[in-house]
Amino acid sequence: MKLSVTTEGLSKRFGKVEALREITFSVPEAELFGLIGADGAGKTTLFRILATLLLPDAGKASLLGLDTVFSYRAIRTRIGYMPGRFSLYQDLSVEENLNFFATVFGTTVEKNYELIRDIYDQLEPFRKRRAGQLSGGMKQKLALCCALVHRPELLLLDEPTTGVDAVSRQEFWQMLGRLKQQGITILVSTPYMDEASLCDRVAFMQDGRILAIDTPAGITGLFRKPLFAIRAREKHRLINELRTFEHASSAYAFGNSVHYTDLRLSPEPRELTAWLKSKGFEDIDVLRIEPGIEDTFMALMESARPQEEHLGG
């Protein structure tokens, strides 16, 4: 198996902040690999080191078999990098931006048009518009086109869907699926847990560390406690009361229900229902459910950061 990305003990510190702490992982060719984590987890620092824009303090990384420190020039022509902050030229048109990036990489838009066709088709009606005047979703599509215009073997996408609406997010991920089919390796970060399940494998990051790394199914397999979806009227009171239950481990709002975990091995739904009734709740529905990616990530976060409550976080 050919590896597109490998890192070993990658660390980076900014003053007192340890942005990355001994990050070791690898991504095989043509994999869609997700980095999941909140702001401040270290995702962007990792991307910048991989994109050869930042030197690590310790450890090493190689992309497409090339070392990020010694072979940065060779790497830059073979990868596409889309930074988290929109970094195209706002005062150039859609067309001008695309031509500019093609020229920088010594190619033309026509030469690799096949690769960007289905994304560019959606931008075509706005090709004369300045990039700064596009909506969030369209800006992201243009940025992806610009990152693809030199036919890179590896794409580094730093939070491409942050601040983008649900429809555009869905379209964006469909595009990533098609690019992967063409053999392009994709490393993508996101704060949206639902997007994690669309990756081949994901790494959960927090405080500069990787908490877990596995397939989406493997990740949810890490969740051990029995999980219940509980519904009743007065949702806010429901959450607060559940947290006071003597056997409660956690209670969080989750869409239209509350996800509840118990400290015991096999608690009875009937007992929970009875307890809630005694607290004056109506229309109670308690259902044992399988955990999702978000449940698992939250459980991993809590166990990795037990002092958080004390700190008031």
């Binding site: 984590g37 969030g136 609406d165 990530f297 939250m298 700190l311």
Partner: protein, 247 residues
């Protein structure tokens, strides 16, 4: 019927030939958590600018916190709270300095500011960090502080523009605890988000498509009438046919 904190009728904003907000009419009741959703470019930001007194409408009417959006914009600004992920607190000031600064902006007197400052730091469990530069604090704490600062002058209505963007799932939920708490104290909450699970936490939700309000109801009723399992499905069904995705 509960008091209406926001009431608009055919509120419209045109920029040249382009109608950004197209005759929207809706009301928000006192103490309600109102979700204001829409695709990028649907007109949410323009609508919010009109409601917060930052942009004059082209036509239609709106009363916000009891004041008129044409004639009483300054009074509106004094009577609402506002927080967004982009504009919130000063990173190079401490929590205490931020509270003092915003208290001054809202015209509170020194004694009130001092009392509120101590009370706020205590209730947020930030007493020890009161004199630490804000940039050194985790994002989740900053957001909690920003929310409390938006409520510093005890407004009846607070606008939250994507308040939870980019934070981890645990912090996001803790933030919603604060929203619920504010609402139970009678504060009306007007909130935008791209997280569709958060739409479920609202009392009512409106979804803007191409400048118009395409749907407005409780999450339960919206899901029922669209035969959808989640708010994400409702949103995608409504927003996908939008014509304006490029704007």
């Amino acid at each position: 019927m509960a008091e209406q904190v926001i009431h608009t009728e055919k509120l419209t904003k045109r920029f040249g030939n382009f109608t950004a907000v197209d005759e929207i009419s809706f009301s928000v009741s006192s103490g309600e958590i109102f979700g204001f959703l829409g695709a990028n470019g649907a007109g949410k930001t323009t609508a919010m600018k009109m409601l917060t007194g930052l942009l004059a409408p082209t036509s239609g009417s709106a009363i916000v916190a009891g004041f008129d959006v044409y004639r009483q914009t300054e009074t509106i600004k004094r009577n609402i709270g506002y927080m967004s992920q982009r504009f919130s607190l000063y990173d190079d000031l401490t929590p205490r300095e931020n509270i003092r600064f915003f208290g001054g902006i809202y015209g509170l007197d020194k004694v009130t500011i001092r009392d509120k400052c101590n009370h706020m730091l205590e209730s947020l469990d930030l007493v020890r960090e009161g004199d630490t530069q804000l940039s050194a604090l985790p994002l989740g704490w900053k957001q909690k502080l920003a929310f409390s600062v938006a409520l510093l002058h005890e407004p009846k209505l607070v606008f939250l523009d994507e308040p939870t963007g980019g934070v981890d799932p645990v912090t996001r939920r803790r933030f919603w605890d604060l929203i619920y708490q504010a609402a139970s104290n009678g504060v009306t909450v007007f909130v935008t988000t791209h997280y569709m699970d958060e739409a479920e936490y609202c009392d009512r939700v409106s979804i803007m498509v191409d400048g118009k309000i395409a749907a407005l109801d409780t999450p339960e009723e919206l899901k029922r009438s669209f035969g959808a399992a989640t708010m994400n499905d409702v949103f995608i069904r409504l927003a996908r046919p939008a014509k304006r995705s490029g704007e």
